[in-house]
């Protein structure tokens, strides 16, 4: 009997020990694997740009996918017109004219999902994706030209319970640009000019030719800058740089970089110049549809640095030579 009691006691003890051990292991495991959520905001939107050409009176429904990569929060959607800010393709939002019920463009846009009006808040759990469906219907009397808007996804988190902070609470918005061209025939006229095509007129040998390209849109419709720069040296192989096909919106000028693989880079020759005259020709068209416009510039490459180095070496050698002569014939000075 005593033996049995001892066995039961021993079993209970070991069971308790194993239970505690397991709990410790489980807790450790959970703590290690718990994702860190340190009051972060995270938003994403796709696609980042939408170019829509539409006949007045027709309707298109566009889907945007938004995500909340931070903590749970309240989201809302807005549409705001924009103009070009500077010459690098940045939009300047006209927030005073955000699309509301009384806005002249109110009839153009309606949100179908996940809410029924712009600015209405909806819950976004952390890590959640949400499709936002927006119906775009320019009225049949809409003027044939371009209209530019940014769809904004705003996300704000509540201050956690029990905290009354001294300091600011941050909110974030992220945008996707909507470039709407209203056209009856889908083939609007595009007008542009080469506002600037420049490179150094004189360049030191072994330097690199660097170009500045600015294209101006003189029409009412956006276009993409399709073209290339061809660099022809006195001798050697010609080189071609491809312009990045970026949107130049109406009544604006845009700096156009070059394209390598899928990256925009500055328009710079990959080879170092030697000596002679380099003729560079810019050929560009709007969307590859209009006639090519051409402009040629000339750069003279001259080995200034090399000549300077030779003069410097020659001068040093001369000084050394004179010093040696004086050392050999000290009486010459008398």
């Amino acid at each position: 009997m005593n033996n049995l009691q001892f066995t039961i006691y021993n079993f209970k003890r070991k069971f308790l020990a194993s239970l505690i051990l397991s709990l410790i292991i489980n807790f450790t495991f959970l703590i290690i694997n718990c994702p860190a959520r340190a009051q972060s905001l995270g938003l994403s939107i796709t696609p980042p740009i939408n170019e829509i050409m539409i006949i007045p009176g027709k309707t298109v429904t566009q889907t945007f996918t938004i995500t909340n990569d931070g903590e749970d929060g309240m989201a809302s959607i807005y549409i705001i017109p924009f103009d070009a800010q500077g010459e690098n393709g940045n939009p300047l939002l006209d927030e005073e004219n955000a699309i509301t019920g009384s806005h002249p463009f109110a009839s153009w846009f309606s949100i179908i999902s996940p809410v029924s009006s712009f600015g209405e808040k909806f819950y976004m759990a952390g890590g959640a994706h949400q499709d936002v469906l927006v119906k775009i219907s320019p009225p049949s009397n809409a003027s044939e030209k371009d209209y530019y808007f940014t769809l904004l996804y705003e996300l704000g988190n509540d201050v956690p319970g029990g905290i009354t902070p001294t300091g600011p609470t941050n909110q974030a918005r992220i945008g996707s640009n909507l470039l709407i061209s209203v056209s009856k025939d889908g083939n609007p006229e595009k007008m542009f000019e080469i506002t600037e095509f420049s490179a150094p007129k004189i360049i030191d040998s072994l330097g690199k030719l660097d170009f500045s390209v600015r294209i101006g849109n003189l029409g009412s419709y956006l276009f993409k800058s399709n073209g290339q720069i061809t660099i022809k040296p006195w001798f050697g192989k010609a080189e071609t740089l491809t312009l990045a096909p970026l949107n130049v919106i109406s009544d604006s000028v845009r700096n156009i970089p070059c394209l390598k693989d899928e990256e925009t880079i500055s328009c710079e020759a990959s080879y170092k110049v030697l000596v002679g005259i380099y003729k560079s020709t810019l050929e560009v068209s709007a969307d590859g549809e209009t006639d090519l416009q051409k402009e040629t510039i000339t750069t003279i490459a001259f080995p200034f640095s090399i000549i300077f180095v030779f003069i410097f070496i020659f001068a040093i050698l001369n000084i050394i030579k004179n010093t040696k002569n004086k050392a050999r014939n000290p009486l010459d000075n008398n």
């Binding site: 292991i25 740009i49 829509i52 990569d69 393709g89 300091g167 974030a172 640009n177 925009t264």
Partner: protein, 245 residues
């Protein structure tokens, strides 16, 4: 009859197995990963960027002219950039959305930071702007002024040196990638554009080219004088990240 040793062994084994059976993060999203980008398939599956209308359902239009005759469909849609053959989401994140300076001591500046990260992988560039709803205020209407720095010359658009403990106010410094050039070092501060005073949003990060995981740190700084009334001073700061067109 199971021996106590076996029972102990089986119990331990059961709990250890339970550890691995416990629910863990489900990683069910199909991903295409390259050194330059990650495409999460659900974005495509959900149809982002794919337009639809009654009678028409178009295929994906990634950087291409959508199929279909313009006159019959009534529209043509391009989503994404022509020269980038994938639609990569434009994303913005910020650590520490809640800035809590705690109890402020007059003449003792307090600083806190947030990290801003932008990924404009599918865009040609981006900018991040910011503004505050108003100066830091209590519910009773007392406020901490926007910082004007040691020389009284820094504004919402021009940074200046703020290093003296006798200079009071609320402002910020930027460090890291793609920041405005007037933030020369960590002693240079601006105050936030004040929406209450109709000041326009100011750029805190900008890049004209494609950027993947561009990161900057914003340092918030507050310093109060001995005559500052007690209370909880609060405001809202709005960050807006927009891709280039």
């Amino acid at each position: 009859m199971v021996s106590p040793k076996s029972l102990f062994f089986l119990t331990t084994l059961f709990f250890l197995l339970a550890i691995y059976v416990l629910p863990q993060d489900v990683q069910g999203q199909a991903k295409i990963v390259s050194p330059n980008y990650i495409i999460q398939m659900p974005n495509f599956n959900s149809g982002a960027g794919i337009p639809s209308s009654s009678g028409y359902k178009l295929d994906t239009t990634i950087g291409q002219t959508a199929p279909g005759l313009y006159s019959s469909s009534g529209y043509r849609v391009r989503s994404g950039f022509q020269y980038i053959h994938s639609i990569i989401p434009f994303s913005f994140s910020m650590s520490n959305f809640l800035i809590n300076f705690g109890t402020l001591i007059p003449g003792t500046p307090v600083t806190l930071t947030s990290t801003l990260t932008v990924s404009a992988g599918g865009a040609g560039g981006y900018k991040v702007t910011t503004r505050e709803s108003g100066s830091l205020q209590t519910s009773g209407g007392q406020s901490i002024p926007d910082a004007t720095c040691d020389a009284g010359t820094c504004t919402e658009s021009a940074a200046g040196v703020w290093s003296q403990a006798t200079t009071y106010g609320f402002g910020y410094n930027m460090s890291g990638q793609d920041i405005p050039s007037d933030f020369i070092n960590s002693t240079y501060f601006r105050h936030f554009a004040n929406a209450g005073l109709s000041q326009t949003d100011q750029i805190v990060m900008i890049n004209a080219n494609v950027g993947r995981s561009r990161t900057a740190t914003i340092t918030y700084k507050v310093n109060i004088s001995g005559v500052q009334g007690s209370g909880r001073y609060q405001n809202k700061i709005l960050f807006t990240a927009i891709p280039s067109f």
